[in-house]
């Protein structure tokens, strides 16, 4: 936890209409480390994750209070450019969601949106993103083929490559391996550990062992609150709160 704080949440409350989904959340996400969010379904972890790049803006009746400071700057400030924010904070979802277009175009989509038209430059970005997502060797000979023809594990790494193509600073991952087989899961986990050299990663996972394998710190959520946050090894060997102990040992949840 020696790294500087990349994202800081202060007294965050979030409501979906009358439902109080996040309650007084205070959390710090260190730079170039992996932070895991765990907790039972409906505890608010994905809600918080989505708030980090303002995906909840699209949800009707969603009201958010408190501070979300990215490098000290409030992302909910009126002057914040949402497109720029989402370029800085990329997201990978539970189910791989490649666009129905070629592998190349999937990756080039973001950079093109941000105004890059030069083919040589785009070629370079596509290659680098696919290499960084450890999938270049598997798809370099079929870049013009549809991304929908790839396996689930390949599609998920393609989605990670797509997120990396716009050179984000933070990568949000919402249960990125829950639909994948163990081999693909292991590749994504190895990739996450490699990626933290350059990126800050926040991952929501239902897989406790995954959290212990890849994350540096873990936050346990319950009923919209952060019950406990600690270095992953400590949280899983000697949790301080009985509710954490009961959840991670499978006594409830």
């Amino acid at each position: 936890m020696d790294n500087k704080i990349k994202f800081e949440m202060k007294d965050v409350n979030l409501y979906y209409g009358d439902f109080h989904a996040l309650k007084n959340v205070n959390l710090a996400v260190p730079e170039k480390e992996i932070t895991a969010f765990i907790g039972p379904s409906g505890c608010g972890k994905s809600t918080l994750l989505k708030s980090l790049n303002r995906m909840n803006d699209l949800v009707e009746g969603c009201k958010i209070t408190g501070d979300f400071l990215l490098d000290g700057e409030d992302i909910y400030d009126k002057r914040m450019d949402i497109n720029k924010l989402r370029k800085r904070v990329g997201m990978v979802f539970q189910k791989p969601n490649p666009f129905p277009m070629s592998i190349y175009d999937n990756i080039a989509y973001g950079p093109r949106t941000h105004g890059i038209k030069n083919k040589t430059e785009l070629d370079g970005i596509v290659e680098e993103a696919l290499k960084n997502a450890a999938i270049w060797d598997e798809c370099k000979d079929r870049l013009k083929k549809s991304a929908l023809g790839m396996s689930g594990g390949q599609q998920q790494r393609l989605c990670i490559a797509r997120a990396l193509a716009v050179q984000p600073e933070i990568l949000l991952m919402d249960e990125p391996t829950s639909a994948l087989d163990p081999i693909s899961t292991s590749k994504i986990e190895d990739l996450a550990i490699e990626l933290k050299e350059k990126y800050t990663i926040v991952i929501v996972t239902h897989n406790m062992q995954q959290a212990t394998r890849i994350s540096d710190q873990t936050a346990f959520f319950l009923l919209g609150e952060v019950v406990e946050m600690n270095q992953t090894e400590k949280l899983f060997s000697m949790p301080q709160d009985k509710r954490t102990e009961d959840y991670i040992t499978g006594r409830f949840g």
């Binding site: 212990t212 949790p239 102990e245 040992t249």
Partner: protein, 213 residues
């Protein structure tokens, strides 16, 4: 929720306590055999070590099965990993009790009048093992720490008796040398049993606190 897991943990709990009891009995019987020169009892302890070894393999198998099937975390992880470690120490304690009995049996050894206080070491060693297991059963951190502190008493007894044996050996006129050397082996085994009981107590502390005492 987690019914089967709890059943397996309860079984593990019973198995390790049983193993602890087997070790206590082995030391007590070995000490009695030594004090009274009871060769039949000594033979029983030597033969009984196989059962302790089998118990070790059974507990170990259950621990490995739990690691594989349940991928334990938090208190479950601390408990199972502590038991895996305690197991090795208990198995060694069983061996050392059998070693004492073996010396008695092989040499027809009976504790000489002058060295009756050696059995104090046996009593202290049994007490340490017994309390280390009690600390585990009752989640008693204070008792675990007390066991660890008591190792010094066994060590002091060892040093004291060792000096006595040395003095007698220096005076000896080739008559009692073998007995004295055998006794030296015996007190060394007791001293080692104290060390292993200390290890068990340290693992009990780890299971309770996440740190070794």
């Amino acid at each position: 929720m987690r019914t089967r897991y709890n059943e397996q943990l309860n079984k593990l709990h019973l198995q390790i306590v049983t193993m602890g009891t087997m070790c206590e009995q082995a030391i007590s019987k070995a000490t009695k055999a030594l004090t009274e020169g009871d060769m039949v009892l000594a033979g029983e302890v030597v033969a009984g070590d196989a059962a302790v070894n089998q118990q070790e393999r059974d507990v170990e198998a259950l621990c490995l099965k739990l690691l594989l099937q349940q991928q334990p975390v938090a208190s479950d992880l601390r408990k199972i990993s502590s038991i895996l470690k305690m197991l090795t120490d208990l198995e060694r304690i069983g061996d050392q009790a059998a070693d004492i009995a073996e010396i008695v049996k092989k040499n027809n050894l009976k504790l000489p009048e002058k060295y009756l206080h050696v059995c104090k070491m046996g009593v202290a060693a049994v007490g340490m093992v017994s309390d280390a297991i009690a600390a585990y059963v009752n989640n008693d951190l204070e008792l675990a720490k007390e066991v660890i502190a008591r190792d010094d008493e066994v060590d002091e007894l060892f040093t004291k008796v060792r000096t006595e044996l040395l003095n007698d050996l220096a005076k000896d006129n080739h008559t009692e040398g073998e007995i004295l050397l055998n006794l030296f082996m015996v007190i060394k085994y007791y001293e080692r049993i104290g060390d292993h009981a200390t290890n068990v107590a340290e693992w009990v502390a780890y299971a309770l606190t996440g740190e070794k005492a």
